[in-house]
Symmetry: C2
Subunit: 345 residues, 2 copies
């Protein structure tokens, strides 16, 4: 199975990002020279989940404002926004996503510093941006992204750390994260099996996280939709209790991404509410053991730096999706109606 | 049914917002004086959907950067972000959402101009912000928001228009929108009946929109989760084709919010992909008739200004949710496990 093979390549992909650290450091210097009022992150699918991560990485490391921007505002509406005080970070594995390319072209024309992060440094997106950063993750053949997602997170972490003058600390942290990720591949793969068998008939699910793990919730929910045909919606822990909790029942489980970080109490409170609503709970992450209501607990080691937790936290979701697909008789390498590169906009 | 009664009060609520136009105009002057590099919008649930709308209203009218901010970055992580060049618009029907109040207190201490939009102008949130704008929508008793959602949209439209020097044009547009909304209440209520009966057993749904109608997709999906226990996920039209389309089948319908605006082609293309995947399609909005693949079409009149379309577009979703709840034997006024004010954070 290509997807699982690529999931298992993630530790190596993280080390390959480290080999690009010089380029990332140069991009960080260009960002610092511009000192943007806003860093605008754009991408679709897994790249959109990575964009969520980028918002936290820039907020937590240099203390900059970095937010997911609306592509349609620029591309479809041609809104007259002045971008001279902005930087753009455009994320696309293929570098071929049409509206992301067009967004970058328009933003560059309006004065933004544009940076592309892509796995194809000869792509149209790489050419459109002022600065192109290569993931160098190796070709990703499974339709569902995995190693390019974590490599994108690693690149964003390095870039944000570089802007905070903490590039080498982050590089060490990433090297240690790659090693931790390699260590947990086998135990996590074993641990997800019983969960996938028990949830084999599930059609609906919420995946909750908060703060930096909001990105993980989005990416895990996307894997479940793509490869398992589960209607899995990502929600922040707080969004869950502001309405969606009303839909839960014992056949509508909740997967909670639970890391030991300042947002933990918020996630734990949402888990309590989900359990009260009768939902079956799965908890994964470095603080999964804190969720007493969880039917299944998939613990992970703590990341060397809290902002790197999502690079580990996504693994149980990736391997669970692969196993659940198998249980359901689906081929995760060939999701219905999808191709590796989405050329719609 | 309180919920439907309040849905039907929306035209009157829009006119009450117009009665506050002087206060909104004053807030717009304060914003223009500050000329923020970023307008940060925060809220949960329906207020989060309204925050999405605010991003488009400010982008399309004064051409400002307005984006949904991370509450947890400020409240849980205490990220050291300089907010002196920022304005905050905090949205909460009750004015009692704890982490929104805390976000405003922290943002104000860090130098942001803070504006609260709430239906209780004596609330803690109204007191925490420098400027408080009252919706004056009258008490909202149903747990699922309706009139406070559209009143919040109207307030944001007036505020953004005021920042663009187009306040009176927008006021006229809102008055005309209130009249159009009153005209379509009965025909839309009749039209959603057969759709609700046909989809009575549905457990999963996507609600898609793009651009300004992304807000409508979020709000409609939230109503379906809250009142009908449907796992309804909002997706931008482009996000649908970047993965989630793989989960669709004939029992997993897609509701498309289709307005005649520059993002229409993107939504129409996504509808084609959804139909190819076998999904049953419902299309609502001023350009619903353009979607040839739709099993049901719920047309609406065009809004007087394109940015006001979401104030009309949400109506079919509200009335469909009410009818579907009835078909399923649920009381939309009493969603399981929810209270009107959510005090978790």
């Amino acid at each position: 199975m290509r997807f699982v093979a690529e999931v298992r390549e993630q530790p190596a992909a993280l080390l390959r990002v480290l080999a690009q650290a010089g380029d990332v450091e140069a991009a960080a210097r260009a960002l610092v020279a511009r000192r943007p009022a806003v860093v605008r992150l754009v991408g679709h699918g897994s790249s959109d989940a990575a964009a969520v991560y980028g918002g936290y990485a820039f907020g937590l490391l240099p203390g900059w404002t970095a937010l997911r921007d609306s592509i349609s505002l620029a591309v479809h509406y041609d809104a007259p926004v002045d971008l001279r005080a902005s930087a753009v970070i455009a994320l696309s594995q293929s570098g071929r996503t049409p509206d992301v390319i067009e967004y970058v072209e328009r933003a560059r024309a309006r004065g933004a510093l544009t940076i592309a992060v892509t796995n194809d440094d000869e792509s149209e997106l790489a050419a459109a941006a002022e600065v192109a950063l290569a993931l160098d993750a190796g070709e990703e053949r499974a339709v569902a992204a995995s190693k390019t997602y974590t490599a994108t997170l690693a690149t964003l972490a390095l870039l944000a750390a570089g802007c905070a003058g903490r590039g080498s600390e982050m590089a060490s942290g990433l090297a240690r994260t790659a090693s931790l990720l390699a260590d947990v591949l086998d135990p996590v793969e074993r641990a997800v099996g019983p969960v996938a068998h028990a949830l084999g008939d599930v059609g609906r699910m919420y995946v909750i996280g908060r703060g930096v793990e909001s990105a993980t919730a989005r990416e895990m929910a996307l894997k479940l939709k793509e490869t398992c045909r589960v209607a899995a919606e990502p929600l922040s822990a707080t969004a869950l209790v502001h309405g969606p909790v009303a839909a839960l029942d014992p056949l509508f489980p909740v997967w909670a991404v639970v890391s030991r970080d300042p947002a933990l109490a918020s996630v734990a409170a949402a888990c309590t509410r989900a359990a009260e609503a009768g939902a079956t709970l799965v908890a994964s992450g470095s603080a999964a053991g804190d969720i007493a209501e969880a039917r299944w607990t998939l613990p992970l080691p703590a990341a060397p730096l809290p902002v790197l937790a999502p690079l580990l936290s996504v693994l149980p979701g990736q391997l669970f999706a692969a196993r659940l697909a198998a249980v359901r008789g689906l081929d995760p390498d060939r999701p219905a109606g999808l191709t590796k590169v989405t050329l719609a906009s």
